[in-house]
Symmetry: C2
Subunit: 429 residues, 2 copies
Amino acid sequence: MTAPIHAFYAQSGGVTAVINATACGVIETARRCVEEGNPRIGKVFAGADGILGALFEDLIDTSLEPDAAIARLRHTPGGAFGSCRFKLKDPREERALFERLLSVFQAHGIGYFFYNGGGDSMDTAAKVARFASEAGVPLTVIGIPKTVDNDLTQTDTCPGFASAAKYVATSMREAGLDVASMARTSTKIFVMEVMGRHAGWLTAACGLASEGSEGDETPPHLLLFPEIPFDEKIFLPRVEHCVTRYGFCCIAVSEGARDTSGKFLSEQGVRDAFGHAQLGGAGQVVAQRIKEALGLKYHWALPDYLQRSARHLASQTDLEQSYALGKAAVEFALAGENAIMPTVVRLSDKPYRWKIGSAPLEEVANVERKLPREFIRDDGFHISDACRVWLAPLIAGEAYPPYRDGLPDYARFMNTRVPKRLPAFALKI
Amino acid sequence: MTAPIHAFYAQSGGVTAVINATACGVIETARRCVEEGNPRIGKVFAGADGILGALFEDLIDTSLEPDAAIARLRHTPGGAFGSCRFKLKDPREERALFERLLSVFQAHGIGYFFYNGGGDSMDTAAKVARFASEAGVPLTVIGIPKTVDNDLTQTDTCPGFASAAKYVATSMREAGLDVASMARTSTKIFVMEVMGRHAGWLTAACGLASEGSEGDETPPHLLLFPEIPFDEKIFLPRVEHCVTRYGFCCIAVSEGARDTSGKFLSEQGVRDAFGHAQLGGAGQVVAQRIKEALGLKYHWALPDYLQRSARHLASQTDLEQSYALGKAAVEFALAGENAIMPTVVRLSDKPYRWKIGSAPLEEVANVERKLPREFIRDDGFHISDACRVWLAPLIAGEAYPPYRDGLPDYARFMNTRVPKRLPAFALKI
């Protein structure tokens, strides 16, 4: 019997309500191999703060966590082992970083690398796979998708997106009822800014909250996508129309909404007391423009991190896919696949059926999938019926976490470190 | 058998996730009287847009809604019949308004007035009761408490508060896990602004999210109450301390936080592109100050209406009390009480036990109950253990709404109007 080969798992980029469910899928599946007397994957080491954990040789030994703790990953939001925003560029520029990665992997008997992130991370994973292969180092690299932005190509959906989608749609429906009941004497304009710097998937999800044949009879009445340039001359009369017809107007704005010259709305409106431009307020800018032009009282909401960490309102579909993709990553690795990413393949909309597929990392890397034009209503201010059909099954099912004393009972982990075997590595982050 | 006397029910001021549960308690209890062959309350008419419905004789006939629709009030947020911000001043100044109210009540055989609101509304209810009594018009007036601000006196808690409390505490816990996992390379400061212009109850509720013996080991690390003047010289070193010790700092800020000169933080920092001061950004101001002084990357969240309409995360305790207070209002009225408000009386903290009591409207009117100093930790930046014990039972229990197609299935009502019997009334709102 040969010594088992260990695995390294790292979370990358912005975390989500269900990224730990993917970690759970990876670790539980790897453990099952061991239990079945077929320990082709030994321990799963997790990177403390993502890929930095590999570079700094700061490894978490997940094998020390009892099964019950690992099971709790399924209902705990955030990144249990820490994540980071750190992109490995090109091996030709940063050869030392790639060599360091392989040294750490070799020092700890790591032969599997599972990288859980978005487009940038898939690019990194692809480069690591190529670098190892060229160096003649045996390493299996599997990317696992994750992003609330839903902007990865090759996969039908990205884990994390559907839960954030369920949250923003629910929030818009609830706030819309609030505004509707107060509009006669109070707020007439409600603006909610949602995530999605380059792609309008979460903005589109807000549209699910609206009902009625025209799609804008109940909130949200208007959606501002990053894919559609914001033109005040068209937009403001639409707002007026809604206020006249419904008594109020609820609007979802992408943080990445841009004006007709391509400039982010968030870059133009608001200044601090010192006159510095303040970023991050597309919703605020839109609300103010309406106030200035139409004189209507507004409120605006910025759910910010709340939307991507709202595990209390996670989608059951999302949870299942997040876990399944982690599980599939291990299974693909054991089946001898390399440099791929497991994907969700949609088989049918209604009833919703999906299966796991895969795509080469090279084809996923650095490609942003925007909201297709046919998912946006002709006038540019709402979602199309096709989009509604596509989105609907993703937010289905409520995957409630357990509660203790009235609050979600989220896990905290020991995150015990693996003793270091190498000298320290100098890296400025 | 005498003709039944009808009732008028109106919602007032900002709506909540559970104000309709109170409406449900009122209407179902009144219906039960009728079913029991003792129709001392005939129909319940609801004011369209609150008290304006009475002034404009715009009455909704709730008797036309089937029992099943009324039952759905229990899980639908917002104000089902509409609410308003409109305060009747003094009968000596606005005699015509008070006379109009009584005319409309008399024209429709209304002898019971249930007014569901906050301190201002209790003041109005008290004045209406006195005016009717002095005019020799038989009218029973019962106030029913409601406010997410939890600032009414005489009652232990106010319906709506506990659900908003559960929401902000959950949101802070979730966002805190997100920030914790990213802090090494990304956001180090997270600020969430919560409601409560004059009283820090919702800010205090955020504190429930933190665990650990010192109360600030897990997010939120710092709370900024309206009751404690914001002093940058003390605050900024505390932020630095948290970042050093925990790697990040999560802060909940009341929208009503003020500086040491008593000026609202929201009134000072942010200006729009035209240089106009922008209100409503205490959280934004605090985040910017930290950025300017300490150079730390921040994110901030503004849940705004989301926090008071989040029926998807309502507290079971809150739901039960909201319903019970509506029910009690009708029972008190039938028992011959007048000019009172049913209250929640706490019997014990652990196990949590409460009963319904009552207080004269005059004693509730216009008194704001702030967070007591003993509920704030000595240093002013967190809640005390006493506060934790007091708050904990309020957020207990999850009262999930039904879901359809992945979203909460909230009711919409017919809101059929009662035919008018009086000439129109001129009123500028």
